[in-house]
Symmetry: C2
Subunit: 111 residues, 2 copies
């Protein structure tokens, strides 16, 4: 068993440091999937992109705009988001507080 | 893309209703893994048990005692817990408020 607090996990800084990514266990340490925590500062966004693997997301703090080809939705703490394999998607923090969400991918989806 | 709030997901009642389990997408709807949200009322616990698949857990609300063969640890919001395949484990809410945590398993681990 491995237990760690989010504050004990060194973040990777993406998008000029506006997006923090914390990987709880690396893909080499787990058999199937990888859990990451992303934190987007106000104004930060991820690219509008797609990839062959799915996302399962759970918002743990703040609010966020989720964009796909069919439109956009505001989500907040307690929302679950499923992104299909190969589906275009983007997360944008259009609010004034940081937003954090869990994002789980199969091992092949982790760098 | 599928978006739903935790309050829109009908919970399964386990352990005489003291443990609520919400499955965001069923194993038939996803390719690799299943995200569930468990809520333990004060005094509630899961069995001390093991299975061939791993857990990746993230505490989103409250505090919880996590038990394994080597001892026990108190975790709280922001803690990540990795349970190895075949490792004995138990979650017990020894506190006075409900505790909720995300628990992700490979598809084979979901009923």
């Amino acid at each position: 068993m491995t237990i760690k607090h989010v504050n004990e996990v060194e973040p990777q800084k993406l998008m000029n440091g506006e997006v923090l990514k914390r990987v709880f266990m690396s893909k080499d340490e787990v058999p199937t999937f990888v859990m990451r925590l992303f934190t987007l500062q106000p104004g930060a966004s991820t690219p509008f992109h797609s990839h062959p693997w799915e996302h399962e997301v759970f918002v743990v703090e703040g609010r966020l705009k989720v964009v796909c080809e069919n439109g956009e939705t505001i989500v907040e703490k307690g929302h679950f988001v499923y992104v299909l394999p190969n589906e275009l998607h983007q997360f944008i923090n259009v609010f004034e507080s940081a937003c954090s969400f869990i994002c789980v991918v199969p091992k092949e989806g982790e760098d």
